[in-house]
C-alpha cells in the first residue's frame, strides 16, 4: 500500500494545474495508489552507492557554431496561437495586476 491520500492527489493536481471533480479525485487516488504500490518493489532494493542514470549516454555540453540560421516565421507562429496582439502572444490578466 502506497498510502497515497486523497489530499495528496488534490495537491499534486493543483501543482500540475489540473482541476479534478470529487469523483475523479476518488478514481485517481485509487489508480495512482495501485501504480505506486507496484513501484514499491523498487523501495526495498538496496541501491546504496549506485549512481543514477538520467540519460542513456553521456553527452555533455553539446554546442553548435554560433552562426545565424533559419528561424521560424513569427507571423506563421503567431497565427497558430490562441490569441496574439502586436507581434506577441496575448494572455488574460495576471492575478492582482492593475490594468
Amino acid at each position: 500500500m502506497s498510502g497515497l491520500s486523497r489530499d495528496e492527489v488534490a495537491h499534486v493536481a493543483h501543482l500540475a494545474r489540473l482541476h479534478l471533480s470529487e469523483d475523479e479525485l476518488t478514481t485517481f487516488t485509487e489508480q495512482l495508489g495501485q501504480v505506486l504500490a507496484h513501484a514499491a518493489d523498487l523501495q526495498s532494493l538496496d541501491l546504496t552507492g549506485v549512481p543514477p542514470t538520467a540519460h542513456p549516454f553521456d553527452l555533455r555540453n553539446v554546442v553548435r557554431p554560433d552562426v545565424v540560421g533559419e528561424s521560424l516565421d513569427p507571423a506563421e507562429v503567431l497565427a497558430e496561437a490562441p490569441d496574439a496582439e502586436d507581434g506577441r502572444f496575448a494572455v488574460p490578466r495576471i492575478l492582482g495586476e492593475d490594468l
Binding site: L4, E8, V9, V12, A13, L15, A16, R17, L18, H19, F28, Q31, L32, Q34, V35, L36, H38, A39, D41, L42, Q43, L45, L47, V50, P51, P52, T53, A54, H55, P56, F57, L59, V62, R64, L72, D73, E76, V77, E80, A81, P82, D83, F89, V91, P92, R93, I94, L95
Partner: protein, 470 residues
Amino acid sequence: MNAIDLAARVRRGEVTASTALAESLSAIDARNDELNVFLHVDRDGAEARARAVDDAVAAGRDPGPLAGVPVALKDNLCTRGVPTTASSRILEGWRPPYTATVVERLVAAGAVPVGKTNLDEFAMGSSTETSAFGPTRNPLDPERVPGGSSGGSAASVAAGMASLALGSDTGGSIRQPAALCGIVGVKPTYGLVSRYGLIAFASSLDQIGPFARSVADAALCLEVIAGHDPRDTTSLPEPAPSLVSHLDDGVAGRRVGLVSELVEGADADVVAQVERAAAALEAAGARVVRLSIPELRLGLSAYYLIAPAEASSNLARYDGVRYGRRVAADELGAMNEATRTLGFGDEVKRRIMLGTYALSAGYYDAYYGQALKVRTRMIEAFRQAYEQVDLLLGATAPSVAFRFGEKTANPLAMYLSDVFTIPTNLAGEAAVSVPFGTGAAGLPIGVQLLGPGRSEARLLAAARVLEVAS
C-alpha cells in the same frame, strides 16, 4: 507492394508514384471510416509530391531510394501546415510552423507522406484507446485493438494503406503494435534517429522508428531516417549505419540468449512461438543459450516513475498560450488550469500527476531517484549479458491483440502490455519485433530480438532469418 520493389519500379519508370498513391488512397477510402487509422489524409500534399517524383523520373533524375513510396506518419510528428494533434484535444486544429527532420528525410528520399495516424494521446497507452479521437481498430480483427501507442501507424501498414509508417517508441510503442498487427517494427538505438519535430513524451526514452511489411523495407526506411541532425542535440554524432547491405548476413556463429524474464507471464501461444523462433535461429547456425536477467523485472516500476516524471515536465508547455486550444477565463492561472483540465484526457492526467508526485519534495529520492538507480543496474545487467551473447530473444507482447475495453478500467493491467519492451528503452538500446507465427484466434505473434546500442545491422539480419523461417 513492398517499399523496396515499389521504389525500384518507380525509379525505372515502370510504375508512377501517382499510381502508387492512388492505390494507397483507395485503400484508405475503403476502410478508414471503419478502422479510424488516419486522423488526417493530406491528399493535396501527397498528390503534389507524387507528381514531383514522377516529373523527376521523366526528366531522368533519380528521386531517391524511397521513390514514390506512400508513407504514414504518427500524428506526434510535426508537419508544417498540416494538422498535428498527438491525438489530444489540447492540440486540435494546430498546424505546426516546421517539419520533423525524419519527415524531411523521407521526402528527400522520394517518399510520399499520405497522412497522420492515430495514437494514444501523447503516445501514452498501449491500445490507441486513450486517443481523444476514438480508438483505431486492428485491420486483422476490428473487434480488437491494434496495440499502441503507434496503433494507427501499425494498422496503416497492415491494412495496405501505406507501404511504410513511422512511429515513436518510448516503452514499446512501435514494437508492441507491430506485433499485434503482424508487421515488422524497429526501436532504434537512442540517438540514432533525430527527434527534431517529435512531440516530446519522455525525452530520455523517446525514439522514432519504422513499421514495414518486410525486414528489408524496415532496414531501408531506417537507413533513410537515421544519422546525425544538428537540430537534435541528443542525436548521435555519426552517420546512418549501413543496414540493407547486411540483411543477408545470417546468424551463423551468433550467440543468442533466450531470456526467461522476456517470456515470463506471457500466454502459452506466445511462449510457443518464441521457442520455435529459438529453434529457427539454431537451425540457421546460431547457438541459443537460456539466460536469466532478474533486473529486467524492475523495468516496469522504474519506467512508470521515470516516463511520467519526464512527461509532467514536457507537458507543462500546454498552457493555452502559444499553440493549440485555449479555454477562456478572465485570469491567466484560471485559463491555464481550465485549458489543461478540458484539453487532456484521463490517461495523460494520470501520468502528469504520477510524475509530479514522483518528483515532488519528500518523494523524489524514494521514487524518481530510486528509479534512476535501477536504470543504472539494468544497463549494467544488459552489458553483462552481451559479454556472453550477441543478441537476446524474447516475446514482444504478453498476448495477441486484445479486445476493446479489456484493460481500460485498470491502468496497471494496460501498463503490463509493455513489460517486455520497456527494458530496451531504459537502456537506450535497440530491438526489433518481427512477426513469427500465429496464436489464439489465428492472430499474429511478434517475437523480439534485442541488442546493444548500434546493433541494428545484426538485429535486422537475425530478424530476416526469422522472417524467412516463419
